[in-house]
C-alpha cells in the first residue's frame, strides 16, 4: 500500500504540487473488433496504446512571476505539443518511480461554483504513452559537472527510452543534462540520444528520446553540467521501453 504524500508534479520546469489536489494517469489500449463469421462470440485484438493524465488543482495566478497554476496550465494549453510532465508518488528520491508524459494539453477548465473554491483542471494527452520510469536526479547543484546517484535496473533493456529534465535555474547560464549507462556500475558511457542541452532560462525543461531498439544497460545515472551559476535545482527521470 502506498499513500500519496508530499508528491511532486513537475510541469515544464514548474513544481505544481503546491496547487494540485490530485492527478490521475490513465493508460488505454484500443480495442479492435476481430470477430469473423465463424465466431460464436465477439473477438477483440489490442490496437494502439495511449495515455492521458488529468490534474485537479486550486485556481491561482501570479501576474508578476507567472508561476502559479493558471499561468502554467494556460501557457501549456496555448503553447504546444510537447509539454513535459514528470510526477512522483511521494517525495522525489533517486531510484523511486516517476510518472512521465510528453504531449499536448487538450483540456483546461476552471469551475467556478458559488461559495466553493475555484478549481483549475487540466487534461494532458500522452503523445507516446505514459511512462513509468525512475528519478535520476533532484538536487541543488553548483557550477561544475555532477555525476548522479546510480540507479540499478537489475537487467539491461533493449528498446530505448525517454529522458525528462526540469530545471529551476537560479543563476546558471547553461545547463547540460544527459544519461549515462553501464553494465557494471563503474564504467560509464553516454546513452546515445539521452541528452537535454542548453537549458538556461528559469524553469526550463526538455525531453529526449532514446531510439527504439537501442540497448540501455543495467545501471543508469544522470550527469549534470552547470555553467555560470550556482544553486540550480535539477530534476531528471528516465523510463525504459
Amino acid at each position: 500500500m502506498a499513500v500519496a504524500k508530499q508528491t511532486s508534479f513537475l510541469c515544464n520546469g514548474y513544481e505544481l504540487a503546491g496547487f494540485l489536489k490530485s492527478f490521475t494517469p490513465e493508460a488505454e489500449t484500443e480495442s479492435l473488433d476481430a470477430t469473423v463469421l465463424s465466431d460464436q462470440y465477439k473477438a477483440f485484438q489490442p490496437g494502439f496504446k495511449t495515455g492521458k493524465l488529468t490534474a485537479e488543482g486550486l485556481f491561482s495566478y501570479d501576474n508578476t512571476n507567472l508561476d502559479d497554476i493558471h499561468n502554467i496550465f494556460a501557457a501549456a494549453f496555448d503553447g504546444g505539443a510537447a509539454n513535459v510532465i514528470t510526477a512522483s508518488f511521494g517525495p522525489i528520491v533517486v531510484g523511486e518511480p516517476a510518472l512521465m508524459l510528453t504531449g499536448p494539453q487538450v483540456k483546461y477548465d476552471i469551475p467556478v461554483v458559488n461559495g466553493q473554491l475555484i478549481m483549475a483542471n487540466a487534461e494532458f494527452q500522452a503523445s507516446e504513452g505514459i511512462g513509468f520510469g525512475y528519478w535520476l536526479a533532484n538536487a541543488q547543484l553548483n557550477a561544475g559537472s555532477t555525476n548522479g546517484t546510480t540507479v540499478d535496473n537489475a537487467v539491461a533493456t533493449s528498446n530505448g527510452g525517454v529522458f525528462h529534465a526540469h530545471l529551476h535555474n537560479n543563476g546558471a547560464s547553461d545547463v547540460d543534462l544527459k544519461v549515462q549507462h553501464s553494465p557494471n556500475g563503474s564504467a560509464w558511457a553516454d546513452l546515445t540520444g539521452a541528452a537535454v542541452n542548453n537549458l538556461s532560462a528559469v524553469h526550463a525543461s526538455g525531453y529526449a528520446v532514446v531510439a527504439a531498439g537501442a540497448t540501455v544497460d543495467r545501471y543508469t545515472r544522470q550527469v549534470s553540467v552547470v555553467t555560470g551559476g550556482n544553486t540550480t535545482l535539477v530534476s531528471g527521470a528516465f523510463v525504459r521501453r
Binding site: N147, Q180, H181, S182, P183, N184, S186, A187, W188, A189, D190, L191, T192, T215, D217, V223
Partner: protein, 79 residues
C-alpha cells in the same frame, strides 16, 4: 596437442586487446577519467574490467591500424 590451447589464448588476446581503441560515445572510466566521442584511447589506459564493459556496450571500438600496418594495401595507389 598441448600447444593448441596456448595458440588459441594467444590469438584471442591479440584480437580482444589491441593497442588502441576509439570512443564511440563519451565515456567515463571507473576512475572518472572522461573521454569524449572520437577520442583514441591506448589499451593500456583502460582497466580490463572497463575495457570489457565498454566493448560490451559498444561504447568503444577497436581503432583501425595506422597507415604503417596498411602499407601493403595502400601501396598500389601511392605508386
Amino acid at each position: 596437442m598441448a600447444n593448441k590451447p596456448k595458440k588459441q589464448t594467444a590469438s584471442q588476446a591479440t584480437k580482444t586487446d589491441p593497442a588502441e581503441y576509439v570512443a564511440v560515445v563519451g565515456i567515463n572510466t571507473s576512475d572518472e577519467t572522461r573521454y569524449e566521442a572520437g577520442a583514441v584511447i591506448a589499451g593500456a589506459d583502460l582497466l580490463p574490467d572497463d575495457k570489457e564493459a565498454f566493448l560490451e556496450m559498444g561504447a568503444i571500438a577497436v581503432h583501425e591500424p595506422k597507415k604503417e600496418d596498411k602499407d601493403n594495401v595502400e601501396d598500389p595507389d601511392a605508386e
